[in-house]
Symmetry: C2
Subunit: 430 residues, 2 copies
């Protein structure tokens, strides 16, 4: 069961926008256990569209395309589909009525060209668009499924989840002799894909019907569990067992089933009615940015002091000038003083700090690029840790440092020991 | 002169990584004035590779592909090229020697499979890889150019700029009867693409050999000037005149030729030996993050106080409790107190603040989602401004607010008036 993905539009082709839809669809199809055969991108010209659709369809058992369903003259997807399928276009009266109603509700005039969106190749089904105007297309032709969705990612995602996924699942069950599939995601921080893969190597052989996938969403890693089975009870039992085994093999570096590290941390803080502050040097506001990306963060996250200059560390956090003179701003002593300082100033229950050398310059043999000192100040004292992130870019060092700081707080809240070096694979030790 | 782009690799196809190479190549080719015909993505299988390369080559006058040139068994691009071109593979002795030397310099053993990377289809040229091991491929076949580059984006970009661009430029000049092309980029903040497009509408007709392109790099907009001409002097005169006209038509919302807004601001501060601090509420550290993304920011950027909680605004910035009680945290009065507070605490020459409602919830009729108050405190006083960003997402509101805050500082440093509503198009007023 191999699928083709087709993206259309001059803006994608010319690199004015990234092809978000192809990335989303690839991931979503893999998550459904389907094989992505090839992806194609073409512009708005009728000839390119027709050749691309015909080629993509020859190549696979099903096709999902997007874009070019709108009301304007450069929206030619329906014409191309009609040509490839040798099925003339007809206006769907119900879709036309829905469109008219939608425009009247928005108080907008219904111009003639809008009616173009109610067309469909004879034999096709129109998929309702809950968050836009252009409907999608679904049809079957010689045993192959064809879906075409609107180009705006927001509309595509909604229509895919609500209307395409159920049809694909049904189709896969028919093709696979009734076999079902389900998946679950666990998220890991503090170990690389290589180590994770080794730890989990024996698992697929141990649990029948299970396969594993890994995806780096740096600095976090996603471990995907895919289970196949005859019925929902079997699937659920397999996933339960697999999650249990993965957690056993990987240990406490698994921090959630699905949520990101900032989300996990904010939930933990909220559950315990605790507040957090941060003192950031090399991370430069990234810890604050990641936490406040999440609506409602203000309940638990009070303050980040982004003290990039040493004078700011002294003035805002009360770090002593002699601390910086004797140990340097990148030192355990300074990290401790920063965390304690921001905890005092903010009145937060917990405070975390990061001070290091993000690079690309500024390293020395004793304090190389990538060295970061962290501290966590809490009611009963202050703990510190030190890491050297050997990544090549400033961006990667900063992302790892911000995640490590958040993970330090998570581990403290859960009563876990500080993250140490990885243990040898457990299955070898058995 | 139409080009095909081919990306290969299971990780791209399965959505484990975004297709950065296709995006980069699309943009780079458009910048060279070449037409991107279609893009193709396939996995590592020999059959898929062969069909994709053959199809992509039929489709265009030139092809740029990437990936699958490495030493392992799943790197099958060379075999596929050999099959499509009907040209057997041969080992290039110079490339083999370079590879051996590179491995010996790195102190690594040279295994047999590494020699696979020194192969080329008979008649092809190997392109040296300055930052990796696998060489690239360049060849001409029946008047069509074919390039194949290593998959790692870092290696691809370097080899494309150093070795593919000069060959493409020569080829374009041959095809175009000796006509040359050059381009320049101007960056804009504070106006939408629609307004910019309208303002610049008459320009292509006024300046012969000029065409324009727009790219949203939100919240900034890039205006690209493409000039064609017979010789370098003509090109340069055309671009000069075009830049002059664009700056005249758009006014002071053009902030740079190439640099981003954070880069522009840091350069301005550095030139004038001035320091900056920020007090951030709704932007949650994003201003600090964007500035400290740039190495060396610490010279000019001293501190950001990310005071998400009202208590933090009081404790760190000295905002009076009655200010928040009477006016609310999202108010001009509070924004002014925040900017003045962080300027006092940090000792910076300039201080900017942002406090608003990023959404998605928390809005009221008087203070809707998207409302942000800004203030800028400097030696001779404090100025304030207010914006309502009507974008749909929290992310967009935060990005616009951070950029507006930085632009406020830029305008102040250049003695420009605050950004007002857009003027009617100048060409209509003539």
């Amino acid at each position: 069961m191999r699928l083709s993905i087709v993206s259309t539009g001059e803006e994608v082709l010319r690199g004015q926008i990234a092809d978000e839809n192809a990335l989303f669809l690839s991931r979503a199809l893999v998550d459904l256990g389907l094989e992505v055969g090839r992806r194609f991108t073409c512009g708005d010209g009728l000839d390119d569209l027709t050749r691309t659709i015909a080629g993509a369809l020859r190549d696979a058992d099903a096709l999902i395309g997007s874009g070019g369903l709108g009301p304007t003259a450069d929206d030619r997807t329906l014409d191309a589909l009609a040509e490839v399928l040798q099925a003339p276009l007809e206006v769907c009266p119900e879709a036309l009525e829905r469109l008219r109603r939608a425009f009247s509700e928005m108080g907008l005039p219904f111009t003639d060209n809008q009616a173009r969106q109610a067309r469909r190749p004879v034999g096709a089904e129109l998929l309702d668009n809950a968050v836009g105007t252009a409907p999608g297309i679904a049809l079957e032709r010689e045993g192959k499924l064809i879906f075409w969705l609107p180009g705006p990612p927001f509309e595509l995602r909604r229509m895919f989840s609500d209307q395409v996924v159920p049809r694909l699942v049904r189709w896969r069950e028919q093709q696979g002799g009734g076999e079902r599939q389900a998946q679950r995601t666990l998220r890991v921080f503090g170990r690389g894909e290589g180590w994770i893969g080794e730890q989990l190597a024996p698992l697929e052989a141990t649990i029948p019907g299970l396969s594993l996938g890994f995806r780096a969403d740096l600095p976090e890693i996603e471990v995907k569990l895919y289970a196949r089975g005859a019925n929902p009870a079997e699937l659920s039992a397999r996933l339960e067992r697999a999650e249990h085994e993965v957690r056993h093999l990987l240990g406490d570096v698994v921090f959630s089933s699905g949520q990101t590290l900032p989300e996990t941390l904010l939930d933990l803080l909220y559950e315990r009615r605790l507040t957090l502050a941060a003192a950031e040097s090399c991370t430069g506001g990234l810890i604050a940015k990641l936490l406040t990306d999440i609506p409602g963060a203000s309940v638990s996250f009070l303050l980040s002091a982004v003290t990039y200059a040493n004078t700011a560390k002294e003035a805002v956090l009360g770090v002593l000038p002699e601390t910086i003179r004797e140990h340097g701003a990148v030192s355990e002593t300074c990290a401790r003083a920063m965390a304690e300082g921001v905890r005092r100033v903010s009145g937060a229950d917990l405070a975390v700090s990061a001070t290091g050398i993000a690079g690309p310059d500024g390293g020395t043999p004793e304090k190389p690029v990538g060295l970061v000192h962290f501290a966590l100040a809490h009611q009963s004292g202050t703990t510190a840790s030190r890491r050297v992130f050997r990544q090549r870019t400033r961006e990667a060092v900063r992302a790892l440092a911000a995640a490590h700081a958040m993970d330090m707080v998570r581990r403290h809240l859960l009563g876990l020991p500080p993250l140490g070096p990885p243990a040898p694979p457990k299955h070898e030790a058995r």
